[in-house]
Subunit: 344 residues, 2 copies
């Protein structure tokens, strides 16, 4: 646990005044938030950051984080908020450059909790090689929020010669998956339901930009990538199938799921294909690029268990199907309602 | 009030499933949110938007909106969220181009309320000439939020030859204000406190990019601009004074405040200089640029009441002072705590 970067000469819990734009806001910013993220653009403390020109197409992404609990095995809301937006930019074929961070704090939140989250975001941003350059803090009354919500957005530059577009997916393409699925959702659920595994199941939250770079260096022609967060692999691949007007078939026996995660899924009655991930991605590539792609993924610490999990066929437009271990085939559909609220 | 853009074949209130990433999320997105914001980038429905290259320095800004009530005389949370980020980019000397929108919805929110807000954001974005290109929706349980929070971030391109930097402010410079202050904060407070004026006091929420363009066309050398939102004119000018290491002195008799707003401030015991605005800005310019600047502002519908409200002196570093109507002089300081919670 990190300690407060500076002695904080204010109340030990968040009060409404921290969101006022007055003295308390200023102190929170100067003593807690800025020391965490310090860089020349954020320090300018303007209404927005003025950044150097960027050569190439821009990628722009945004996501909110309402995960509960704030801290969980393998990560916390701050890491998730940095990794999530870094990963969304990486999925555009972009190098993430700059992030914004918005906090919505509930009155009564211990300042120490905010300090821990800021410190965690700082480390995550450094690991991913991005700068946090602008942001905002709001405070709502006790009972009108839930400790802390975070919103991040990010800007990146799309790599040259890379053209990520689901409409480029064609029958014959293969589906790569960067590693075992369902760890994040199950880690959160185990904490919430008091299910104890030894060792505890850890969230897979991680920045994917390095791994994506490795893949794109080897295979610039990747058709499309997607990180299967909320809604899991099924939501991510269904969106691609619909957008591309193809059928995607995944092979049950090829989907990697770690033993403890698979056991927890059984116990909880969940299909790992619907469970959220925060450090995995799917890439659709031409069949001739599979070997080169896998070799590149395997060489990176986050891609050692990468594998081919399915293929694109032209048979049924906009459908995702599963080829079962028994050789049968069934449709995989989006979940109708909520399986795991506030997973990210 | 806008009607639903498409018949919505889902529940009439927001449920947790709308944040699941499954079927209900998809329906909310396709039937409520996308029809409001439709454009080629958003329609790509990727994890992020892939945008054309931008020539010049980037401006990047982000803000959260937790205003209560959601709808108030002169505006609503949706307009505020669009205008706020547009204005922050304009304050960087940038032309706003793209916005992201993140919703955090409380379970039980009427879908019709979301439809009204989306429709209002669509109109505000069109008026300001920006595209909403990416976003996200999360749902939290009843009692863990407050109807709706919005987070927007934005990307713009800094105008050539414009160099907005508080450190360029020097003694002798003058402070321009684009119009009468304190309307937004007072409009919100009147609604909350049940104070009825006839006609009701309206928020001044407006996109400032057109007005800022008019000023910068005439005076590219503007030193710094700031829109006095939370914390009002005092917070905005104090930040500039500290950053620039100068004293800024504002002239009490020159600060424009509309009659009804001034009356309400009296009644509520508020100093209009501390009250939030959402459609006004301060610009510091060289003395020789004042006339040209004012002429440009007066020619724009949002700047007709622009005026000079103070000057920069070198006497006391980092201070904001007020020259009173009686000829006295006193320090203006940031408020210690919270005056008006959840004003934006």
């Amino acid at each position: 646990m990190s300690s407060c970067p500076l002695p904080f000469d204010g109340p030990s819990v968040i009060v409404l005044g921290h969101g006022s734009g007055g003295r308390l806001s200023q102190r929170l910013l100067e003593q807690i938030i800025l020391p965490g993220f310090r860089n020349e653009w954020l320090d300018a403390l303007h209404d927005g950051a003025i950044l150097p020109p960027v050569q190439g197409q821009l990628a722009f992404s945004a996501d909110g984080y309402v995960v509960r609990p704030l801290f969980f095995p393998g990560g916390d809301i701050g890491q998730l908020a940095v990794h999530g937006t870094v990963n969304d930019l990486a999925m555009c074929g972009a190098r993430p450059l700059y992030l914004s961070v918005g906090f919505i704090l509930e009155e009564g939140l211990p300042v120490e909790t905010l300090v821990r989250v800021v410190s965690s975001m700082k480390e995550a941003a450094e690991r991913a090689g991005v700068r946090i350059v602008c942001g905002d803090t709001k405070v709502v009354e006790r009972g009108k929020g839930d400790q802390m919500f975070i919103h991040t957005s990010g800007v990146g530059v799309v790599r040259e010669q890379v053209k990520i577009d689901a409409r480029r997916v064609v029958p014959g393409d293969k589906v790569l998956l960067s590693g075992p699925i369902a760890a994040h959702g199950i880690a959160i659920l185990c904490v919430r339901d008091g299910l104890e595994f030894v060792p505890p199941i850890q969230s897979d939250t991680a920045p994917l930009n390095g791994l994506v770079d490795a893949l794109l260096d080897a295979v610039p022609d990747v058709r499309v990538m997607r990180d299967p967060t909320r809604g899991g692999v099924v939501s991510a691949l269904t969106e691609i199938a619909v957008r591309a007007g193809v059928e995607i078939c995944v092979w049950e026996e090829s989907i990697p799921v770690d033993g403890a995660v698979a056991g927890a899924c059984e116990l909880l009655g969940l299909d790992p294909l619907h469970v959220a991930n925060e450090g995995k991605f799917l890439a659709i590539v031409a069949a001739e690029d599979v070997e080169r792609g896998l070799t590149a993924l395997w060489a990176h610490p986050l891609g050692r268990e990468a594998t081919v999990v399915g293929e694109v066929t032209g048979e049924h437009r906009g459908l995702l199907t599963l080829r079962t271990r028994m050789g049968g085939r069934r449709m995989l559909d989006l979940l109708a309602g909520e399986q795991l609220p506030r997973i990210c």
